[in-house]
């Protein structure tokens, strides 16, 4: 049995399978900061030969491994699921491991800096503690009353679908650190915490919705959101973050969820 798709390759598949080297020279302009060396942050340029189909993370590794071992950043899985390497690339929050160099115009210097609104500890590493504290504050776990069933709780496919989008969150902080309200006021819970509250408020099995809504009704809660959609643009998982925040706001008004 042969598949029709195999007889004639698409241009995209041919391009993907092309093994000819297409190295280019790119400049990475990286915001450096190390208080062991200087209290001042500064920009540093690195030039390297790289295949534009590679990731920004690959470029950072090449710089660290071949040019400057002191360049410091977090990373782990390298394919967009662990959430370690959110950073500001050409002024936009992205995961370095999900951003291909060809997609961010390598003809010009590519700027890379730490995400905003969280204290920079060294180079691209920020203090994640306030971010995780906001997450913990919304009680991000299933709350139920009464006796546990012996088997699984039942949930219809539709009820499961209701909160599917917000279960995708990887806690990378790309959304929260793209939010102008969060930049100006670190007390604001920020989009990621609200997304994770949403994930439980709209879960038909959960009975803690009222408690969470009260927390988010706080002066630093959902009402601070100015719907600039930065968070939705920044989310590497494609979550409709602003929409989720709006749904939480609506639930607060109608008390229906």
């Amino acid at each position: 049995m042969s598949s029709p798709t195999l007889e004639k390759h698409s241009a995209a598949l041919d391009a993907a399978e092309n093994t000819a080297s297409q190295m280019i020279t790119a400049t990475f302009r990286i915001r450096r900061f190390n208080p062991e060396v200087s209290e001042e942050a500064s920009w540093q340029d690195f030039q390297l030969e790289i295949d534009p189909k590679e990731r920004v993370l690959d470029a950072l590794h090449k710089i660290k491994w071949d040019q400057d071992g002191t360049l410091t950043f977090r990373r782990s899985c390298a394919h967009g699921i662990c959430g370690s390497d959110a950073m500001r690339i050409n002024g936009k929050n992205r995961l370095a491991c999900k951003t291909l160099i060809k997609d961010i115009n390598p003809q010009k210097p590519i700027t890379v800096e730490a995400i905003k609104g969280l204290t920079v500890l060294k180079d691209l590493v920020v203090d994640m503690e306030p971010f995780f504290q906001a997450y913990r504050d919304v009680m991000p776990f299933l709350i139920t009353n009464g006796n546990e069933p012996t088997r699984e709780r039942r949930q219809t496919a539709e009820d499961r679908e209701r909160f599917d989008d917000t279960t995708k969150c990887i806690l990378c902080a790309a959304c929260t650190s793209s939010c102008p309200v969060f930049w100006n006021d670190g007390q604001y819970f920020g989009p990621a915490a609200i997304v994770n509250a949403h994930r439980f408020i709209f879960d038909s099995r959960d009975e803690g919705g009222e408690q969470r809504l009260e927390i988010l009704n706080d002066k630093d809660g959902v009402w601070r959101c100015r719907t600039t959609f930065n968070c939705t643009d920044a989310c590497p998982r494609g979550i409709e973050v602003t929409k989720a925040i709006q749904e939480v706001k609506r639930a607060l008004i109608t008390r229906r969820f």
Binding site: S3, K64, T70, S76, A78, E148, E152, R160
Partner: protein, 584 residues
């Protein structure tokens, strides 16, 4: 240096570590030390599902699951452990659902299940729907759910604390665990954690391969720490190569793609798995499928200009099904290859995926220091451990199961142990070895570089101890690793600072990879047979007479300080299943 005291210390915060922490925190004062923030752990990269014979969508039972696990492991599985795994699978899945895990649902509202490689009805008759799943991000949902429940239970985490040493003490002639030594990444400070019970749950070691689905951080830290303190490592020659990694990148594309109907094809469009596994076809066990792919490639039927890959074809599946059941992996194909899986087949090749071997434990998670003696107070669970439920080849969906079943068991057992026992006194200067190691690396002016040695190691491992092995290739690897280990003594780092010194961290990780690569190669050289993930072209058959036994590798240090590896063997526990020829 700071000294901390906890009843129970858990090393690692992936699935096994957090599942253990949920149990242990309820019963004892527990600290979790983790190199990464918990939600960064590689459990989150698992996709396809978690096996349990819930029988929600068709007839199934745990006995069939036990059999499949044992057969999948090519009869090197300890059968008592496999039975526990399959039996406790059902409660494990239900526990996760009660903790809030958003499984996909059947029309009845129960947990939905799908097919996966090697899982069959009635001892191999046909594929069975046994994998409980949440889209193609089941591992992500397990990791999130466990972290959420750790938040709920108030589990105490020490994030970005890298454990470098295990402290063991002789007490009246018995070797007991006393604590661990950790390096705090943010400050460079050394911390000693004294604990009554310690659980290693620090994950795998796949980063000694070049093409791998593993995270950069999977460097066998727990295995190496135990091994250097004289504890054995079991069955390290058995490493799983997942059939479907993205070509050249190694990024995992779930077996669930084939469970949903995806087909592997060679350059002629032929569904080649029909030749190699007439019943299970594309859903044969992973070792079988990976070997079949490389056989196609070697015989000139590979795809692309260099004929070095094959295709995973999903183009006959409805786009709605891909969107609902496989959204992440189809997005990976779009992001990293620029192709559209609705209409294009995906170029794939086998990718180094999972260590079946590790620190030997019994079914309570207690670590063994030889074939039968436990180290009181020391536990291990998850990929770092070898129970052994995976034997020579793990079935897909059995690792998410393993971390939950044995993570829970280890958490309970460790906390109960610490409730009944006192602290073991710390050795004098408990952190000395770590301080020396860190200072030597940081202060070295050596001419060797981490990146070069690591690259040579990874290339050597891919070339010589991957899917196909021979005496010659393994010997080449042993020699090369020996040379790299020599060169490693002369390695230096550029970052001499204390704050977030990831340059230093990578140098330490490389040391672990080198030690474990050597153990793997030496263990593989001695196993003159083919079984599961260990395939010797010079010994293509399984040899139950001579090799139905686990390898136990020990580090030996001679009077002159020279190091060597001593191999011993441990019998396989067989209960009701007699070894048979393995066919899919």
């Amino acid at each position: 240096m700071k000294i901390h005291k906890y009843d129970t210390v858990i090393v690692g915060a992936g699935g096994a570590g957090m599942r253990a922490a949920i149990e242990s925190t309820k019963r004892s004062r527990t600290a979790v030390l983790t190199k990464l923030y918990p939600t960064r752990s590689h459990t989150g990269a698992a996709q396809g599902g978690m096996a349990a014979a819930l029988a929600n969508v068709e007839e199934d039972n745990w006995e069939w699951h036990t059999f499949d696990t044992i057969k999948g492991g090519d009869y090197l599985v300890d059968q008592d452990a496999a039975e526990i795994l399959a039996k406790e699978a059902i409660d494990s899945v239900l526990d996760l659902e009660k903790m809030g895990l958003p499984f996909n649902r059947t029309p009845d509202g129960t947990i939905d299940q799908r097919r996966f490689g090697g899982h069959s009805r009635n001892h191999g008759e046909a594929p069975v729907r046994r994998s409980c799943y949440a889209s193609d991000r089941t591992g992500h949902m397990i990791l999130q759910t466990l972290y959420q429940n750790c938040v709920k239970e108030g589990v105490e985490f020490f994030n970005e604390f890298y454990v470098l040493d295990l402290l063991l003490q002789d007490v009246d002639g018995v070797k007991k665990s006393a604590g661990v030594v950790a390096y705090e990444l943010a400050t460079g400070e050394i911390h000693v954690f004294q604990a009554k019970a310690i659980i290693f749950a620090s994950g795998g070691t796949g980063k000694f391969f070049k093409v791998t689905s593993n995270a950069h951080t999977l460097t066998g830290d727990g295995q190496a720490a135990a091994y250097r303190r004289g504890l054995p490592l079991e069955d390290m020659e058995f490493f799983q190569f997942h059939p479907t990694g993205i070509w050249r990148m190694g990024i995992l594309l779930t077996e669930g793609a084939r469970g949903e109907g995806g087909i592997l094809r060679n350059k002629d469009g032929e569904r080649f798995m029909e030749k190699y596994a007439p019943v299970m076809k594309d859903l044969a066990s992973r070792d079988v499928v990976s070997r079949s792919i490389y056989t196609e490639i070697r015989e000139g039927r590979g795809c692309g200009p260099e004929g070095d890959h094959v295709y995973l074809d999903l183009t006959h599946l409805p786009p709605e099904q891909l969107d609902a059941k496989l959204p992440d992996i189809t997005e990976f194909a779009r992001t990293y290859l620029g192709i559209e899986p609705y209409t294009d087949p995906i170029p794939i090749q086998p990718t180094a995926h999972y260590a079946m071997g590790g620190i030997p434990t019994n079914v309570e998670g207690e670590v063994l220091r030889d074939n039968d003696t436990v180290v009181p107070g020391l536990y291990a669970a998850g990929e770092v451990a070898c129970v052994s439920v995976h034997g020579a080849n793990r079935l897909g969906t059995n690792s998410l199961l393993d971390i939950n079943v044995f993570g829970r068991r280890a958490g309970i057992a460790a906390a109960e142990y610490s409730a009944d026992h006192d602290f073991v006194e710390l050795p004098e200067n408990p952190a000395q070895q770590v301080i020396d190691q860190v200072e030597r690396l940081r202060d070295s002016n050596g001419t060797e570089r981490v990146t070069e040695i690591r690259k040579e190691l990874q290339e050597c491992m891919d070339a010589n101890v991957m899917v196909f092995r021979t005496e010659q290739t393994i010997k080449t690897a042993v020699e090369k690793i020996g040379e790299l280990r020599e060169r490693y003594l002369n390695v230096s780092v550029q970052d001499k600072g204390k704050r977030f010194n990831t340059d230093l961290l990578e140098a330490i990780e490389l040391g672990n990879l080198l030690d474990l690569a050597e153990v793997m190669a030496v263990s593989a050289l001695a196993r003159k047979e083919s079984r599961g993930g260990h395939y010797r072209e010079d010994y293509p058959n399984r040899d139950d007479v001579n090799f139905m036994r686990h390898t136990m590798a020990y580090r030996e240090v001679g009077a002159d300080g020279s190091e060597s590896i001593r191999l011993d063997y441990k019998p396989v526990v067989q209960t009701r299943y007699q070894p048979m020829e393995r066919k899919y």
